[in-house]
């Protein structure tokens, strides 16, 4: 399945929080082929072949308020 890039809002407030999200996505390297964390903008872009919901669940585990914004028009 072609991989898509999804955009999420994640309430990250500091380096530690973005570090936690970074580790979560790194551990899911089998599902997440690439990702980008914009701490100031509180945005996370995830390139994946799995559904946006599955990635949403992963991000929610960080304990941060997470919202799915949409698919990034690549």
């Amino acid at each position: 399945m072609a991989s898509k890039t999804y955009e999420y809002n994640v309430e990250m407030t500091c380096e530690g929080c973005s570090g936690a999200v970074d580790r979560i996505l790194k551990r899911a390297s089998d599902k997440v082929s690439d990702f980008e964390i914009d701490l100031p903008g509180k945005k996370v872009f995830v390139t994946t072949t799995v559904s946006s919901d599955e990635v949403l669940e992963m991000l929610k585990k960080s304990g941060k308020a997470t919202k799915f914004v949409g698919e990034k028009s690549s």
Partner: protein
């Protein structure tokens, strides 16, 4: 009811909002009564009900949050 305490070494926290996130999320865990996380000592003390949750499950829960957690025995 029996209550036990376990201390986890927690890596990856840089500020108090990480401490609050862990404390808030872990205290809503079934079987976890009390959570005290220390940024300076980089550890977390959990008072829990061994019949409902085990130290390993607590460790995995913190690990799932994106932090590195090891049981400090």
């Amino acid at each position: 009811d029996t209550k036990m305490e376990v201390t986890l070494k927690i890596d990856g926290m840089t500020c108090n909002s990480c401490v609050r996130t862990i404390e808030e999320n872990m205290s809503s865990c079934n079987g976890v009564y009390q959570v005290k996380v220390s940024l300076e000592k980089m550890d977390g003390k959990f008072v829990y009900d061994p019949r409902k949750i085990s130290p390993e499950e607590i460790r995995v829960a913190v690990y799932d949050m994106g932090f590195d957690a090891t049981i400090d025995c």
